[in-house]
């Protein structure tokens, strides 16, 4: 075990997978010599000069050519510098990578892991802060993975690279250097599709992913001070969702607060809410509450107001407890 930040854990996962499997290649903007703008790929080009590529500045080219590499039999791990820059590659991701296995009747597959930092809290303004996972969770054929700790970042990224299907791996940049924790050196995988109960509680379930998992832990601490035992379920994989873990928690607590930093309307938390309403309404003792970003573009000066905070999550807990 070594204490690592999330950035170090991601770097460690990439390095170990590149050592283990010579089909793994890494490509993206400023990821070679510069080590990536967040340094996630630092030093990889020195160890693997033939498998790390600083690409021209074109997201559709990065993803489009990575798809070709994957079709050919490689395991590309392209990086999109910020999730806010992913849209030129949207067509290649949702209409090509995600559809290839299906449309070819299984003759061609795209084992590719797209890494990209997402989310707010770093004073990056509209174009360095969005949390647009819902565009991608709406895409059959694509998996969507979001770690919230360094250890999970390594384990989930390793599993994603080994996965036979295309994976969008969202890195909560607010947590890149927020804290260190023990990360296993060498082989460490976390299976895709398994949520984790980060804190147990009997009164209310908080569902979250990425940075919001940490916010929920803070909110649960605050709730404990008021005598409320909140359970924090970190989804870790959005697609495929760990439906059993979600339902099991709500059946235990009877209350649900879904927390996400994307705009409320159409966010992935809406899908969680709908699932709970369809499958667990008989266990619910109050309304399903969503605590989310506001339905605005991501603001710069008022970022702190926009981002769901522990206080706002606690207000959500209060609402469902008081029902």
């Amino acid at each position: 075990m070594t204490q690592m930040t999330m950035v170090q854990a991601i770097n460690n996962a990439l390095r170990e997978e590149m050592r283990r499997d010579d089909r793994v290649v890494v490509l993206g903007e400023d990821i070679g010599k510069n080590g990536g703008v967040f340094r996630c790929t630092e030093g990889l080009i020195d160890e693997f000069p033939d498998r790390v590529f600083d690409t021209p500045l074109a997201e559709s080219g990065i993803i489009g050519s990575a798809i070709g590499m994957a079709l050919y039999g490689l395991r590309p791990v392209p990086e999109i510098q910020f999730m806010d820059f992913i849209y030129p590659a949207f067509d290649q991701i949702v209409s090509e990578a995600a559809k290839m296995r299906y449309r070819s009747g299984g003759q061609y597959t795209v084992p590719m892991t797209i890494r990209t930092p997402y989310g707010g809290g770093i004073r990056g303004g509209h174009y360095h802060s969005q949390s647009s996972e819902a565009y991608f969770t709406h895409t059959p054929g694509l998996k969507v993975v979001v770690p919230s700790t360094p250890s999970d970042a390594k384990g989930l990224l390793t599993s994603s690279i080994r996965d036979p299907d295309p994976v969008l791996f969202l890195e909560p940049k607010k947590l890149y250097r927020a804290f260190r924790e023990d990360v296993p050196e060498g082989e460490h995988t976390v299976p895709l599709g398994q949520a984790l109960v980060r804190r147990e509680g009997k009164d209310v379930s908080l569902f979250a992913w990425g940075y919001m998992s940490q916010v929920c832990l803070d909110a649960a601490t605050k709730a404990a001070g008021k005598g409320i035992e909140a359970e924090v379920v970190d989804l870790r994989t959005l697609v495929p969702l760990d439906v059993d873990a979600v339902l099991a928690s709500v059946k235990k607590t009877g209350r649900a607060v879904v927390v996400y930093e994307a705009p409320r309307t159409g966010g992935y938390g809406g899908a969680i809410s709908a699932l709970l309403a369809e499958r667990a309404i008989e266990y619910l003792r109050g309304p399903i509450v969503r605590v989310a970003g506001f339905d605005t573009p991501f603001p710069y000066a008022l970022e702190d107001v926009y981002m769901p905070s522990a206080d706002r999550v606690f207000a959500g807990i209060d609402k469902v407890m008081a029902f």
Partner: protein
């Protein structure tokens, strides 16, 4: 008008358009790819098969026996000539108008027709509308309807070949309309930077549905876009199978030898509609069609074969009968196939179906029963 340029080139065969076949069936010896008799006949057969197949499939579509069709009549020299130039280890990344290339790569005719019928015999399980076939055994990639999206894939495959030091190349087909897409430019740019062994093959058939190439770009000829990306561009007479074959062969050999990518622009023409849903009389002049039909690529290659003493009326008649019978039999076999079973509906979304897909299969089964 590009047709005028082609005329000019006829008068001046040393112009900037590569042309091998002369009107009398003789060849320009400086550009002759020197195909053997067997290869020349194979090329002619592939083009004839595509022509006859197209006409038969369009007829089946009119009879309601297949849902949709996109004919390639007029473009056989460009399509089959380019595919002929590639080796078995090379990959072919199609647009959607190249059935002759798929057949040349070994795709069984019955499988192709089952795809047109989108029935249970379709190797891709009826997942896509007609004319979106795939044949991985022949390194023939799956087809996507949005224009140009396949071009970066070709670049990536070629990049992979280079990384793995495989002496192979990629041929990617696209039309004149695709040269306006960001995907074309980004793939050309990446290929230039990484010297990927990719042959970018533009079937410039003059029309992207209703838009003529003159309104697609102010930067014609299209081949002149190549130098901007650090690669060679060449224009060939796309109604001349030997010129197409020779140009693609040279480009592919150079790519395999580490000399990087190239753009080949084939000047050709779609005699028919964009698809079975299109009426070209709404946007183009029949006089223009007649000019291009006078350069029919099948007639020109046949004249060459006859001038060499490799072909005659008797061989032509027996080839047409042989192909006609093959298609008749394949259509009969394809029409005997059952519909796509609902059980396949949820396969291949992922390598393993997720919980929601397993649940939804139950729901889909009840719909089919209902």
């Amino acid at each position: 008008m590009l047709s005028h340029r082609l005329h000019a080139a006829r008068k001046n065969p040393l112009g900037d358009i590569v042309r091998v076949l002369q009107d009398d069936g003789s060849v320009d010896p400086s550009a002759d790819p020197n195909l053997s008799r067997d290869d020349a006949v194979r090329l002619y057969r592939g083009m004839t098969l595509e022509r006859i197949l197209d006409n038969r499939m369009l007829a089946l579509q009119r009879q309601g026996r297949i849902g949709f069709y996109g004919p390639s009549v007029g473009q056989e020299a460009a399509i089959v000539g380019a595919a002929m130039a590639m080796e078995p280890d090379d990959w072919i990344v199609p647009q959607y108008r190249e059935p002759g290339a798929a057949l040349l790569r070994g795709m069984p005719l019955k499988d192709l027709i089952c795809q047109f019928m989108t029935n249970g015999g379709d190797p891709a399980k009826g997942r896509q509308m007609p004319c979106h076939y795939v044949f991985a055994k022949g390194h023939y990639l799956s087809i996507s309807s949005p224009v140009g999206t396949q071009i970066p894939h070709a670049m990536g495959i070629a990049w992979g070949m280079k990384l793995r030091k495989e002496p192979a190349a990629v041929l990617v087909y696209f039309g004149d309309g695709a040269t306006s897409t960001p995907d074309f430019h980004v793939a050309m740019n990446f290929a230039g930077v990484y010297r990927a062994p990719c042959v970018f093959f533009c079937n410039n058939n003059q029309w992207a549905i209703s838009l003529p190439v003159s309104r697609q770009t102010a930067g014609a000829p299209l081949a002149e876009k190549a130098p901007a990306y650090g690669m060679e561009g060449v224009r060939v007479d796309g109604m001349d199978a030997l010129a197409v074959y020779g140009a693609v062969r040279r480009a592919a050999n150079a790519a395999r030898n580490g000399q990087g990518p190239a753009l080949v622009e084939a000047l050709t023409y779609r005699f028919g509609p964009h698809s079975s849903s299109d009426d070209p009389s709404r946007y183009r002049d029949e006089k223009e069609v007649a000019v291009w039909m006078a350069r029919d690529p099948l007639v020109r290659l046949r004249r060459f074969l006859e001038a060499r003493g490799w072909w005659d009326e008797g061989r032509e008649a027996s080839l047409e009968k042989e192909i006609g019978d093959e298609i008749t039999q394949a259509v009969a076999e394809a029409e005997a196939m059952p519909p796509v079973p609902v059980e396949t509906f949820f396969e291949d979304v992922y390598a393993e179906p997720t919980w929601n897909l397993r649940e939804e299969l139950g729901e889909a089964r009840s719909v089919r029963r209902g």
